[in-house]
């Protein structure tokens, strides 16, 4: 500890030796406030100092920055399509400026409210349930003492993630098939899929089923960093299993939970296209028609680049706002944030 203690003194000596301390950084007693002094230096000096100290960090993030700049920021001009009338002759850089025309067209579309309602309902259920389930699963798996069983459970729960959407939907159909399906044989002569109100539960339950094992991996990784000394201490205090979960496991994964929650908030208006599209039928359409399917019908089939881009951008902005707000709240409340 002695080395740490002598550190400020050495720094102070060095600083005064430099002899160019701005007046604002010296308090009434003539003691120099180093931080303040550093902040008051001219910009080039500060930059030089910054890079002198932080150049390794810049080197480490440089490749990532370059890739993102090239492959994410360079093509971003494509978003302008949402505000212009796409003109095939002039290409993507041309077209007449129409401002918010396509956004208005979307808001005034007879289906706007239905689409928004369905998208919010389906994605919120999936978001909340899909967020809670992996946490519970991770805590449960962490409770398994036998490493072989633990590994088995982990592998099994992780497998459904790799089943393609097409097959998942086929299985939903087969299982719910009235008369013969493993579930459908108990539900009368109509499929549960014909009941529009059951669309959302069927959707999120299968989503949770498919992805909770995969999503819990990150929490299991976080749990691996738990300080086992904490368990010892808790045990000595007579903690039972529930207490251990409550006072050791949950606090350990809490920062990860926070980050995952913020990230998930950024998908509040995203419902994947393929699964909904494949699960749709005439009977559940009023409850299953979502923005992504509509964009597909309008934009891809109808070849309307500008309209499609505008709807996509609207979606994105809503999602981004949710993420930023969630990030802000989390930062204030728990100092967990992604930026």
């Amino acid at each position: 500890m002695s080395a740490t203690a002598s550190e400020p003194r050495r720094k102070a000596k060095k600083a005064s030796a430099m002899n160019n301390i701005p007046a604002g950084a010296i308090d009434a007693n003539g003691v120099v406030d180093n931080t303040k002094a550093a902040r008051l230096r001219p910009l080039p000096v500060r930059l030089a100092a910054h890079f002198k100290h932080f150049w390794p960090i810049w080197v480490m993030i440089a490749p990532a920055l370059c890739f993102v700049a090239l492959f994410a920021y360079v093509p971003m001009y494509g978003l302008r399509l949402a505000f212009v009338d796409y003109d095939p002759v002039e290409g993507i850089m041309g077209g007449e400026w129409v401002g918010l025309k396509y956004f208005k067209q979307f808001f005034e579309s007879p289906q706007f409210l239905q689409l928004m309602g369905n998208t919010f309902r389906i994605s919120l259920w999936t978001l909340v349930m899909g967020f809670i389930a992996p946490i519970i699963l991770a805590l449960l798996i962490n409770q398994i003492g036998n490493l072989k069983i633990k590994s088995f459970v982990q592998t099994i729960t992780y497998m459904p993630h790799f089943i393609s959407v097409v097959v998942i939907v086929s299985m939903i159909n087969i299982f719910l098939n009235p008369g013969s399906g493993i579930i459908g044989r108990f539900t009368g002569d109509k499929s549960l899929l014909a009941n529009a109100d059951l669309f959302t539960p069927i959707y999120w339950i299968t989503e949770v089923w498919q992805h909770m094992g995969w999503d819990c991996i990150i929490y299991l990784a976080a749990l691996s960093s738990v300080d086992l000394a904490l368990y010892e201490a808790a045990k000595i205090d007579g903690a039972g299993r529930l207490q251990l979960i409550k006072y050791v496991d949950i606090p350990t994964i809490l920062p990860t939970v926070g980050i995952m929650l913020i990230l998930r908030m950024g998908s509040v208006l995203s419902v994947g296209f393929e699964k909904v599209f494949l699960m749709q039928n005439p009977m559940n359409l009023p409850k299953s028609n979502v923005i992504s399917v509509y964009t597909y019908q309008i934009g891809i089939l109808g070849n309307q680049f500008s309209y499609g881009t505008a709807i996509g951008l609207f979606n994105t902005v809503i999602n981004f706002v949710f993420l930023v707000v969630a990030n802000y709240i989390s930062k204030k409340a728990s100092d967990t944030s992604i930026f």
Partner: protein
């Protein structure tokens, strides 16, 4: 720790190699217009079915190269890929010199600056000229009102002139129960009842499905839609493609929407009756395609809408196609049938306006439309799967073709050919054509009850890009409202009570505007 350090080094090296590779790739990208032998290079993009073999390896493709004295660079993509690649290639102006089955007349109209106006260069396309002389309707298919043509249609021969959509019924059941082929809805219903109650398959179990229908497509009415029964009422459908998929039809030159017609209502009511009597499975509205097919090949189905008898697998010889029964109050002469055709496709061959070797590109295009290459595109190379018997007669080796198809190695383009099989050509051993002819013949008479122009919006009527957009924006909400509504009525009834407010709602969604647009273009093209 050393293992990890080594791993880091390895990854670092791989990464830098990857970068170098990228740069190298940038560096040597130059497209020469001639190859090493000085022959002009022509790039040909083909959108293939995934069960078709690599074209570049086929003998006919090599012959084609020799005949045009050029170097063909084949680019072969699947539908799946092309669905994603089409728009970016158009927007970035990176289209191949010759594109086969890649662009529809709507695409080429929108991006007309990228394509050659072929109508100006018919002299270089003598085979296409001959094609149009024999089949003027093929020329109409892709010619816009100003006379431009950016893409050429194709024909796979008169054998495929039918719609490919048929009402097929279990004839052996009819015979067993001593019933006649039904000609009216009432008779049809009675037949279905007999199928249900009299155990025609004779296994003692109540497992017959008297009539099986496909679930409604949420985007509109298409292939084998239950709404084919509209033809019973005298409204002609064209469910292969075109405006009747969205409800627009024409009668005596006047366009209307059948979605708000009494005929449509009567079809819904009829279906509701059949469903409530258990003659159609109660879960029809949610049944996926796979279980539907599984039932179809089980031999337990009385009647379906489908392509050909082969749909029934091992039970094919029990079935036959029949004319659609007439609705009450509609005479047999007024009963019609779907007027779609499978003979032509309108998206076959386009030439890039910026092709470096235009002459060679035209030469390739013209050769493809010759009889020699059309037949080979259709069935594979001469001497391999096709024999040229002389005098415009060819024999397909059906067995070999079957085998290759099963191995995903079909040696040609089949129905995707960019060519023309002239009427004078006879092809033996084309199983598909034989199958389809068998089911088409009983319907020919009914098809002739309607006028192909006055009672059917011809396939060559193409609204402008702007109007297409308007139509798409109108039709999406209309269909999203109509389909669930009628599915409910068909299953649970109630059409009488809800009909008036339904009509109001469809009108408020702008169906009249859609009718107006189609009337305008119908008049423009048929005047």
């Amino acid at each position: 720790m050393t293992v990890r350090n080594a791993a880091i080094k390895v990854t670092a090296i791989t990464a830098s190699l990857a970068m170098l590779g990228a740069m190298a790739a940038c560096g040597n990208k130059k497209e020469a217009a001639v190859n090493a032998d000085g022959k002009p290079i022509v790039s040909v993009l083909v959108v293939k079915n995934t069960n078709q073999a690599k074209l570049a390896d086929q003998q006919w493709a090599k012959d084609l190269e020799a005949d045009c004295d050029c170097d063909i660079e084949w680019k072969e993509v699947t539908d799946d890929q092309w669905g994603q690649q089409k728009n970016p290639t158009l927007a970035s102006k990176k289209i191949a010199d010759v594109s086969i089955r890649a662009f529809t007349p709507t695409d080429t109209a929108q991006y007309s600056h990228l394509f050659e106006d072929l109508s100006q260069n018919m002299d270089k396309l003598s085979n296409v000229k001959a094609f149009f002389k024999e089949k003027p309707e093929a020329q109409k298919l892709t010619t816009d009102p100003e006379g431009h043509m950016y893409v050429i249609a194709s024909s796979r021969g008169k054998a495929y002139a039918g719609s490919g959509q048929h009402l097929m019924i279990n004839k052996s059941w009819l015979d067993k129960l001593g019933l006649d082929v039904p000609t009216t809805w009432d008779e049809f219903e009675n037949v279905l009842k007999a199928f249900k109650t009299q155990d025609p398959n004779g296994n003692g179990k109540d497992d017959e499905i008297p009539f099986n229908i496909r679930k409604l497509d949420t985007g509109g009415f298409g292939w084998y839609s239950p709404m084919l029964l509209m033809n019973s009422t005298g409204i002609v459908t064209g469910f292969n493609k075109g405006p009747t998929q969205q409800g627009y039809y024409v009668k005596n030159g006047k366009v209307a929407s059948y979605l708000i017609s009494d005929e449509f209502k009567s079809v819904i009511k009829y279906y509701n009756k059949l469903i409530s009597e258990g003659l159609i499975p109660a879960d029809w509205s949610t049944k996926d395609a796979d279980p539907y097919y599984a039932e179809q090949v089980s031999g337990n189905t009385g009647a379906i809408f489908g392509w050909s008898l082969a749909d029934f697998g091992d039970y094919a010889d029990q079935y036959e196609s029949i004319p659609v029964p007439s609705a009450p109050g509609v005479s047999a002469d007024d009963t019609v049938w779907d007027l779609s055709t499978n003979e032509y496709e309108n998206n076959k061959l386009a030439i890039s306006a910026s092709a470096p070797n235009k002459e060679a590109a035209y030469k390739v295009a013209n050769l493809l439309y010759s009889e020699k290459y059309s037949v080979q595109q259709f069935g594979g190379s001469f001497g391999d799967t096709v024999t040229d018997d002389g005098n415009h007669t060819y024999t397909f080796d059906a067995k070999k073709i079957d085998q290759l198809t099963n191995d995903n190695q079909f040696p040609g383009l089949a129905d995707r050919l960019a060519g023309w099989i002239p009427d004078e050509v006879t092809i033996k051993g084309d199983d598909n054509a034989d199958d389809i002819k068998k089911v088409n013949d009983p319907l020919e008479e009914q098809r002739s009850h309607a006028d192909p122009v006055k009672d059917y919006i011809p396939d060559y009527v193409t609204p402008s890009a702007d109007d297409n957009t308007t139509l798409s924006n109108l039709n999406t909400p209309i269909m999203n409202y109509v389909i669930p509504q009628i599915a409910t009525w068909m299953s649970d009834g109630g059409v009488d009570d809800g009909w008036d407010s339904y009509v109001q709602q469809v009108k408020s969604l702008g169906v009249d505007q859609g009718v107006e647009i189609w009337q305008k273009w119908y008049d423009e093209y048929t005047k």
